[in-house]
Symmetry: D2
Subunit: 402 residues, 4 copies
Amino acid sequence: MSSNLSLAQGREYLAIPGPSVIPDAVLQAMHRPSPNIYAGELIKLTVSLLPDLRRVARTKHNVAIYISNGHGAWEAALANTIAEGETVLVPASGLFSHGWAQMVQGLGGNPHLIDFGRRDSWDFDRIASVLQADRNHRIKAVLAVHVDTSSSIRNNIPALRKLLDDLEHPALLMADCIASLGCDRFEMDDWGVDVTVAACQKGLMVPAGLGFVFFNDKAAAKRAQMPRVSRYWDWSPRANPEVFYQFFGGTAPTHHLFGLRAALDMIHDEGIEKIWARHATLARAIWAACETWAQEGPLEMNVANRDMRSNAVTSLRIGAPIGTTLRNYCQTHLGLTLGIGLGMATEDDPNSDGFFRLGHMGHVNGQMVMGMLGGIETALSALDIPHGAGALEAAARAMAER
Amino acid sequence: MSSNLSLAQGREYLAIPGPSVIPDAVLQAMHRPSPNIYAGELIKLTVSLLPDLRRVARTKHNVAIYISNGHGAWEAALANTIAEGETVLVPASGLFSHGWAQMVQGLGGNPHLIDFGRRDSWDFDRIASVLQADRNHRIKAVLAVHVDTSSSIRNNIPALRKLLDDLEHPALLMADCIASLGCDRFEMDDWGVDVTVAACQKGLMVPAGLGFVFFNDKAAAKRAQMPRVSRYWDWSPRANPEVFYQFFGGTAPTHHLFGLRAALDMIHDEGIEKIWARHATLARAIWAACETWAQEGPLEMNVANRDMRSNAVTSLRIGAPIGTTLRNYCQTHLGLTLGIGLGMATEDDPNSDGFFRLGHMGHVNGQMVMGMLGGIETALSALDIPHGAGALEAAARAMAER
Amino acid sequence: MSSNLSLAQGREYLAIPGPSVIPDAVLQAMHRPSPNIYAGELIKLTVSLLPDLRRVARTKHNVAIYISNGHGAWEAALANTIAEGETVLVPASGLFSHGWAQMVQGLGGNPHLIDFGRRDSWDFDRIASVLQADRNHRIKAVLAVHVDTSSSIRNNIPALRKLLDDLEHPALLMADCIASLGCDRFEMDDWGVDVTVAACQKGLMVPAGLGFVFFNDKAAAKRAQMPRVSRYWDWSPRANPEVFYQFFGGTAPTHHLFGLRAALDMIHDEGIEKIWARHATLARAIWAACETWAQEGPLEMNVANRDMRSNAVTSLRIGAPIGTTLRNYCQTHLGLTLGIGLGMATEDDPNSDGFFRLGHMGHVNGQMVMGMLGGIETALSALDIPHGAGALEAAARAMAER
Amino acid sequence: MSSNLSLAQGREYLAIPGPSVIPDAVLQAMHRPSPNIYAGELIKLTVSLLPDLRRVARTKHNVAIYISNGHGAWEAALANTIAEGETVLVPASGLFSHGWAQMVQGLGGNPHLIDFGRRDSWDFDRIASVLQADRNHRIKAVLAVHVDTSSSIRNNIPALRKLLDDLEHPALLMADCIASLGCDRFEMDDWGVDVTVAACQKGLMVPAGLGFVFFNDKAAAKRAQMPRVSRYWDWSPRANPEVFYQFFGGTAPTHHLFGLRAALDMIHDEGIEKIWARHATLARAIWAACETWAQEGPLEMNVANRDMRSNAVTSLRIGAPIGTTLRNYCQTHLGLTLGIGLGMATEDDPNSDGFFRLGHMGHVNGQMVMGMLGGIETALSALDIPHGAGALEAAARAMAER
């Protein structure tokens, strides 16, 4: 391998689980002068976003847009619903539930976290026993991460709803769909979700900078009982503004709104059902390749059960330091950036060097997925990492069979 | 005047007091793929922003960057320093002090607001008497809006510092420089400001979406005494992160950072002292024209005293409904968007139709200012609004004399 | 005047007579990946351009698009119509007729040039005498520059047509509308023009790189008699292609076509009649200012007679070296780039330093024109150049009166 | 296969042999206002392009830039060197030699074409016999297509030079490097090429619209003897301009020059030798896959001999109508556009439906190539086209072995 050669000149492919690949139409829409923020097209455009956002989340209820990242949207959802001293239940599969629980603490709430590790979805028996024990309904909300970006676990939200209903527990069901919205099937109203948290830089295909909180009447009623909600996070004026600046609690995020408009146009042109199907097909192709590689050598799927895997991100285990070595090879030699392992640190692998992740969310298609998988095949070959044969053809067949 | 003719085809000039005109270099820098958010150029670029932001605010202390607008930065500054039940003093000249005071209430604090109206800067005697009466130092901070975007009043921050020092009052001095940073002279450290709040869409020439809070050791000490700070607003990890994502309390605002880098490069290429001088010269030209027009007919400067006027925005009074008529003419016929009157509503003029504002902040030069003033002259002429003669030549002379 | 101050930071305004200001919509449309050049959207888009180009030139006849500049389009028009040894008549008012005549020589033709200098339009008596003397009709074409970009003279094409008709002279009437198309009224079919030459970087608002030749049946008949036409310049396959690549005699100018589509959309949204009216109004405002300045001091209109002036460009005389000094001041201090004097060199002023030109073609509106004029007023003042008073107000009144 | 599903949402990959993929840096550089064309940065930038263009073509001699496509550059090269009635020799392997020969006819020259078909490179014995028979040296030039984009044949230019030298034939050696420059090794001076023709939209990675003619002193001497050269094509003032506009024979192609500057920066950052090596490695990977597929079923390399294949384009035979079916599948289902068969029409296959081509020129890297090959594998599988197994792994190994 000649050290002074590189195959990395050419288009970079950022195949990490967010931020995702931004479509040209979105970047074009953002390359424009600032608009007037008091009258004209921006007002009309902003109003047009709301029903289209609701369609993506499959809800007829409210949406508040925040200039923030997903963590800000987490805090916004909590700031409107959880008062100081109140308790929330956090069934944690993967890393991000822990982060959301910490946001609760930052606001003076009391998170009750059940840790299901980094490879399995929720154990509903354990959740049920905690809810049953909560006779006085001190648990005001259940924080449910739909897809955990670190582990690639997808949790079963409808089953959690059914559990709450069966137990007649009145806690709000709050779903974090940051990694799943616009990728994995999600039906806010049909699934009985009360609050949905999302952000723009994954399935919504817009540069990072917008958070979204969808909420229904039950959640709004809880907000109405709050002793106080900070002005910036208060979702009431944002969802039902009297004057335009209240949409954003101040100056509008002008260019992101133009980008979001372009992205929603693309989403609705394709159709959300077709988008879910596309993600499912691409995920099956990726799994076919990864499972084939895993038949020999160190590669292993982080989530064994296909039913518990997200269609938007795939976490893989390969042993330290190979994960990092492989990522570096892909980046340096092939123009392909894979995601780092996240939240998988152990004493033996403090930097999660034994893991890597594939993002396949949003603006992604068959040739991109084959480029990503072909890059990994090349790296496995170049680095002499043992691996099962026929992975790429298996992926091609999986796509061909759709 | 032929109704089916328009002179508005051509470049639109958005001459409102924020968002300001975005330079091409900033928009170009933002038109790019999403970067990796865990390694590589983005990390290096982000680190490079901090000293350059400090140079603009003239401070050696800390800066926290928020994905938010200016209102978010207001809340961030308060969330780190004002605990529930604590009192702040708000000397209010113009509209925005009232908004900041409301943010205090939203966080459970207690604002003491002294209202100096919409045309005058602070009366230091009245401020002094309140501070003197505060023997137990229950006032924990003074919220000082440097430039009020609605009224175009510029307040004297160094004099307020001197007053606090003379009275040996320990309250934090917090300055809102959203409209002034990068336009009007501001020296955080030399002027003894403890906390400075800013945003990116005015003098910093970046599309709306970033807020900044600068804070010194005294402010940091107050934060250390806080019973609790919400995770999103906590400035400590943002200003001194251990891992990259802490800079932004989650996902980085990738494209805005590229835009900000380009804007700071322009700022430092020109030099902040020269930028202040440029804004001062352009403001003098604008005042020369406006004061000339005001010699006859209804036009009037909102702020009579030149020493109390911002170099970045000019508020004008012309009587309802002429203000709105004039703005509409400029927009429809000339491609020129002027700012609406803000916060000037009275019973007779509930929509502030008797006012308009000129933005001259950030990416602005002599030919732009002459285009704006020439547009107003055209509108005054077309609408038969009486006005003093020779305004444009007065402006040209003022620029020529610099 | 402090030497270390500058007012040039801010938007640059390129007020030269071509290339003109490119609209954002055009630049956005060009910022995209290369398309397939054998199938799909590009083919459809290209076909859509032809009727829209014809509408701009007011013709029902043919159009050939060339990847070239205006000089290339000159050569293309000649290569299809003028055989070796044939004669053309060139009534020259301004510089560019001389250039076109040289293209004739380069192709082996024989230009008969009548020079009317740089300040006056054609003298029809002199043209008539040459045509009348041409009893054998050796003159195969008359090359008529509609608007000369150097002198800002606009020639009377319909009167030339009438002369040819009155004399029953069969020469082709070929018009150079490079500087006038989309600015000054031009009616190819109604005026009896046989061949029209244009380019994209002036009234058509697209970055330089496309030339256009419109031709009618009479011109096509002349082409059919040509012994040979070079493959690249041959307009027949371009105007009536059997396969797509023949439109462009090879690879299509992909990005320019997307830009041109956006520009034609803007043109037809506004309407060509309104575009002509807009240019006429803006020109009257510019003349009002310039004629006022000229009442005192050295400034002088190059073309005294308003009827002979283009609505797209204005040439001014001010004496060497003041022209260059003034241009430099505007560029360095105000962000305003004015056009140099072109083709006006004399022994005393070999570099045309005593001249400058204003471009007001294409994407231009009232506030831009006032910025340009206000900049000149500032320069006149700063450089102590004597000039008449009230010029800017005269311009404002002229625009207001439309 | 569900007819209403699509995997084509996502980044489109245009894998045709030109126009090639435009780098973001080039598009960014072109998204800017028009510059002054008489002074300032554009002049400096243009001058900077010349040595860098020469470095790409490996020559110390002259370069003329044309606003044109490659066909225009063909005509330019001929217009400067071949007078009416003169003869040129055209050894034709593939389609494009025929096109260039037609350009000769269009200029009145006399092409002597030897047709070597569409699958083989030149037969030097046949060429030698023609040259030997030309005792009076009526052949003034040999037109040598280096890489034929239709057939993917790469011809041996140094061997042709040697033949001319051995026979002491004084004809100019003119090379068409439109498809090879910046991809396949080409050494103008070392190989003794007198005139090199190129264009910007392939290895140079700029949107179509610029042609280049490089020429040495021998070619310049021939030009000096020409009775006449048309003004637009005359390379003398372009290569050695006295005033700026002569570089482009009129208005400069402003935005393309900014794009070309960015592309040349990328080329020289990587280094031309490394670029050649990158293309060679990627080509080997592509051949490894294609040759493996070809082991079973209808796919066949158009050029059997690896030494005669270009590193920039690969032509494949698969039988009508499968070629078109396969291309359509890739485009519709995978977001991958492959090149059509060109110039391969037969009676049985009038539209070349039995062929397709892969472009791998310019801004291309390992993950892109794997995406292209993976897409083809998917199509072969979906369409039940028999093909050899293990093609993608063979490609991966070929890249890994570099």
